[in-house]
């Protein structure tokens, strides 16, 4: 069964191209596939999510196209692959 993080991530990915126009660099708080509000930091969004919805009932996504690297070890090792 999908949880809030998975459900919200799918919805967020669909909206990302549009969000990038006005909210790049912000963090969005999501609940039930809907964007609730925008924050400057991820932890502000996290605290709001905990207060309003409780643990596991929300998710946070950064509005960005930047891809991060987890370094050489994570690539040659098995750290990233299930």
């Amino acid at each position: 069964m999908s949880d809030q993080v998975d459900i919200n991530f799918e919805a967020f990915q669909k909206q990302l191209p549009e969000l990038l126009k006005n909210y790049e660099g912000k963090y969005v708080l999501l609940n039930n596939s809907k964007i609730i509000s925008y924050f400057d930091t991820a932890f502000e969004a996290f605290q709001k999510g905990i207060k309003e919805y409780g643990e596991g009932k929300f998710s946070i996504q950064e509005v960005t196209e930047v891809v991060e690297s987890l370094g050489f070890y994570s690539h040659v090792g098995d750290a990233l692959h299930a």
Partner: protein, 153 residues
């Protein structure tokens, strides 16, 4: 000057750390914590963000709050979960390169961090990435065969 010491094991720099949930953590930056679980972190300057194995994530425990797409070295897209944590290290005080206090005070980073979840392995419990390392001065001491991370606090 407070210093974190990383041991060199098979040419890999390992540092002991502990982690708590940001919701339960209310410690000051320096504390004498003896009841915290110690984990092994591999210093990884190639990692832009710190990663915890699922073992650490489950034991603390940490709450999953988001996803982030990543690209592997063979150009495959994968997605990894993100977790908030408060992380800390055991430090010694040092005067003029002489360690005069090995009481191992616990130093907690002041702000919670977002870390990725990665698979368990037998070598380390976390990759300590540049999101943490860039906060400090760090160097390799050839005489002691140790990595040293210095805190200017």
């Amino acid at each position: 000057m407070s210093v974190m010491h990383c041991t060199l094991e098979n040419n890999q720099a390992i540092i002991n750390f502990s982690a708590t949930s940001p919701l339960s953590s209310n410690e000051s930056m320096f504390s004498n914590y003896s009841n915290l679980t110690s984990y092994r972190g591999l210093i990884d300057t190639g990692a832009q963000r710190t990663c915890f194995t699922h073992r650490v994530i489950n034991e603390v425990p940490l709450i999953r709050h988001g996803h982030k797409p990543l690209k592997t070295i063979d150009d495959q897209w994968i997605s990894r979960s993100l977790y908030f944590t408060s992380i800390g290290f055991w430090v010694s005080s040092e005067v003029s390169n002489y360690t005069n206090d090995t009481s191992n005070t616990y130093f907690a980073l002041p702000n919670p961090l977002q870390v990725y979840g990665i698979n368990n392995n037998e070598t380390f419990d976390a990759l300590i990435g540049m999101d943490i390392l860039s906060m400090f001065n760090f160097s390799f001491n050839r005489q002691r065969q140790e990595f040293e991370i210095k805190l200017k606090v």
